[in-house]
Symmetry: C2
Subunit: 577 residues, 2 copies
Amino acid sequence: MSGVLDCIESPADVRRLSPSELSTLCDEIRGHLIKAVTKTGGHLGPNLGFVEATVALHHVFDFPTDKLVFDVSHQCYTHKMLTGRKRAFVDPAYYNEFTGFTNPDESEYDLFRAGHTSQAVSLACGLAKSRDLLGQEHNVIAVLGDGSLSGGEAFEGLDNAAVVGSNIIVVFNDNEMSIAPNAGGVYQNLAELRRTHGTCKNNFFRTLGLDYQYVEDGNNVNALVDAFAQVRNIDHPVVVHIHTKKGKGLDWAENNPEKAHSIPPASKSVSGPTYQQLTRDYLLQKLQEDPSVVVVNAGAPSGVGLTPEFRQACGTQFVDTGITEQHAVAFSAGLARGGAKPVFMVMATFAQRAFDQFVQELGLNCSPATVLVFGAGFYDIDATHAGTMDIVMTSNVPGITCLAPATREEYLAMIDWSIEQTERPVVIRVPEKVLLGSAEAFEPKRPCGWHVNRRGSKTAFLSLGSSLELAQEAADLLEQQSGVRASIVEALSYSSFDEPLLDSLLEDHSLVITLEAGILCGGFGEKVARYYGATPMRVLCYGGKKEFLDRVPTEDFFRIYHFTAEDIVRDIQSLSL
Amino acid sequence: MSGVLDCIESPADVRRLSPSELSTLCDEIRGHLIKAVTKTGGHLGPNLGFVEATVALHHVFDFPTDKLVFDVSHQCYTHKMLTGRKRAFVDPAYYNEFTGFTNPDESEYDLFRAGHTSQAVSLACGLAKSRDLLGQEHNVIAVLGDGSLSGGEAFEGLDNAAVVGSNIIVVFNDNEMSIAPNAGGVYQNLAELRRTHGTCKNNFFRTLGLDYQYVEDGNNVNALVDAFAQVRNIDHPVVVHIHTKKGKGLDWAENNPEKAHSIPPASKSVSGPTYQQLTRDYLLQKLQEDPSVVVVNAGAPSGVGLTPEFRQACGTQFVDTGITEQHAVAFSAGLARGGAKPVFMVMATFAQRAFDQFVQELGLNCSPATVLVFGAGFYDIDATHAGTMDIVMTSNVPGITCLAPATREEYLAMIDWSIEQTERPVVIRVPEKVLLGSAEAFEPKRPCGWHVNRRGSKTAFLSLGSSLELAQEAADLLEQQSGVRASIVEALSYSSFDEPLLDSLLEDHSLVITLEAGILCGGFGEKVARYYGATPMRVLCYGGKKEFLDRVPTEDFFRIYHFTAEDIVRDIQSLSL
């Protein structure tokens, strides 16, 4: 291999390239992206569409003196290749060396860790204001796109960018898609802008007071270079609307933009039933039986298993609100108040965007909506997408009933109860691994009651949801090693205590072990510790530390957190009770 | 008094009125509002501006069959007067009978409790979708306004309303103001729309795919009746943009729209220094010394003491981002990354909107921004504005340092340390009552260290921030009654433990009492209970229950929560240790 990319060690090398070399560079990068990402997995489509724009930005601007902020940042692969990290994309030995998002720990060219959407313009406003206060003069560029325009924060940022009054360049990457097809009225205006090559009178960006330019072929690197050169050193905020093709250059990705948005590693295969499949099957039947049931998602259907086929089968009983978690929760509250039966399906990490709506629209208003939280717990994932804060942000809110099933049967019984009840918002923490059991543990007549799986003495394991398996293993090991036959209690809800049960344990137990797949701070175990605080009962809590785990293999942090039967039993035995 | 209002018992009576009676009714209502609200306090300006629109809505539509949703809902006083609750505004004996926000517990005409902004359209989308699924045919009306258009959720809602595709009527109340003067680029477009009587080609609402109508005189009830009658039973979403006058009909309020936005009861007077004043004085000096310090607020300056005079004195070192908490936090992160020193001042209740930005933009990115949280703790306030969730939403986030000063000197030392450090985001929980002390308790070299105020034995009081006074009282009472001279520890930070200190207490203490002015669930005391969980130390936690307190006098819930020296000492004495 001897190409242009070989000579690129830093952005300075990109700035020197001729127009034809720029084109060649883009082709080479695209080739490597296709080869690498189809093997490693990752955000394939978004990156294929943003090759030329990234090369053009690095050709025209002078980073890191100029400042570049990516929204979502999952489309930063080309940026990484141009800023000293190309081996992670060209040499299989280094595939997976870097994270799939911008990360200041990796490079001075990465200003923020960003994995949620719609915040780039707000961050850029801060960088611009800071520059102006400090009397500096560089360009500040925000990359906004891939569906994130629908997020309210993007609007807040654009609306404020207009009044910063100095240099901010917003590159709006319009690939006609979000993760899934775009949802929302503003996308009609984008279509009109594309149709008129940016000349139509009614212009969303201009209504916010922003200057505006349009580039029809956003995958033509030299057209982009011209456009960016025109706005370089501009003295006011401007939006450069570029029309790109998601998945560009790979037929399969171009034709399957949703599937190609983010793909799993080639080596990964899933076997057996999943909660996504179980949920689809259950809901499809439920929707058919009851026309008032409606499934709501906020622009990220793939993460919760809402396949295109399922969405189509739901018809008008499915609503994708776009990337709008705040709206989606309030919308669900409105649906519930109107008499419909909403089921909002969301990833734990993205639910964070709607904390206030959980408090106000769900909790305070006692809105009988059902929220299914997927991806909660410990996963080997980028820190930006960690799903460990959900217990904090739901279980501490007055008025919300939080349920944690351990088995398939409990899960299905809980959804069904939740959809049919009309008194309160219910959050169900969906486990990852499907365990079989019986539905009896969940008693609809006392939905917040806990279930004694095994009555023993001295030590009680109190497991939240999916931790039941670990509780059983640890209890068995303890019995084997010390002869103590411990109790095992399934905490099926984590928004309140089963007080009679906790009180009964005081009679013949001296130690309670809590287990939860989430951070301990603000979580479930702490509440149990407080409950027993004034009693002789000892409480040991197992869960995660308050930290951001970044792509740590699951087994590793299970070990670090003593989240294994061996560690737990060893800890128990080392206690002097 | 014998007027039109006398004959209004329910909205049905409003529907029957003639044009001239409608005008008379508005005048009468306005007279009562001025008389009542200047005495009781409340949202004076917003309600004076929205009298005619409310009367017109009730004349044209058929509530509660048709559905009315208020954004913010602090402009609902006229609505309350027309829906069976007028005596609370016309008879001093019943002033304060109802809350200042919509509340379904009060009336079937109130669909939601709403106190934060920008959610009405989202709720209305849910009501509309629910109506369509259930085959119903009523109108759904959302009232949006008084500055809440800048909030991202309003954009999300409008963007989605456009694609609901059936009847949604958004009454956009444009009074040219937010709580403070409007901030953001879209307000230029609103000005252009007003100037052109809604005819200019570039139209924010139309870019979102929404139909649009303009009413120039939004305080002319019959013009509004005509406009609303035109859109009644419309088959698609429409925005009716009405131009109103905030404070209409009261010269002082018209001329002082910010001060008249929300006024205190006539009987209330404040004496002595406040943390708002202390903060202004400190910051003003700091800003002058250091041009990189910048004060940020999100559209609610009055709640945190950012007076117009102070804002003017700050010059370019003050930014009001409008009602945009998400943006404001990300903006602060951007400022910090760019080298400026941001101080974001926010009410605890509104900070909830930015939970994800606390996690991602502050915590994950280690952004050295300072956040001053006002209004945190127990206040006699409407449940929609409770400030009891802040400990949950900041102290459990990895990477954020949370500080709780008890005294003026600690507070000032903490702000100064926080602004100057460059390593981490810092949240300072501003107390209500100004206590004097010395700055020594806070040690900048170990900012998360706690301070032993008094070393005793057996029992230790561990007080968070403003609870120090209660800890001292309780300790004194305990000594007086039982002879036990307890330790008093100031927990100056609540994001981590002072572990050596906690461990040292194990030597000669058997009971730790935690005190915090916030809900216990997910809070400070629980963490202490977990820390000591496996030890013989008993822990009793004092704070709030997980519940929404609605205008409960402070003394009452102090009593309910045993948050008094007498109760605490009694509890200690009843423990069998």
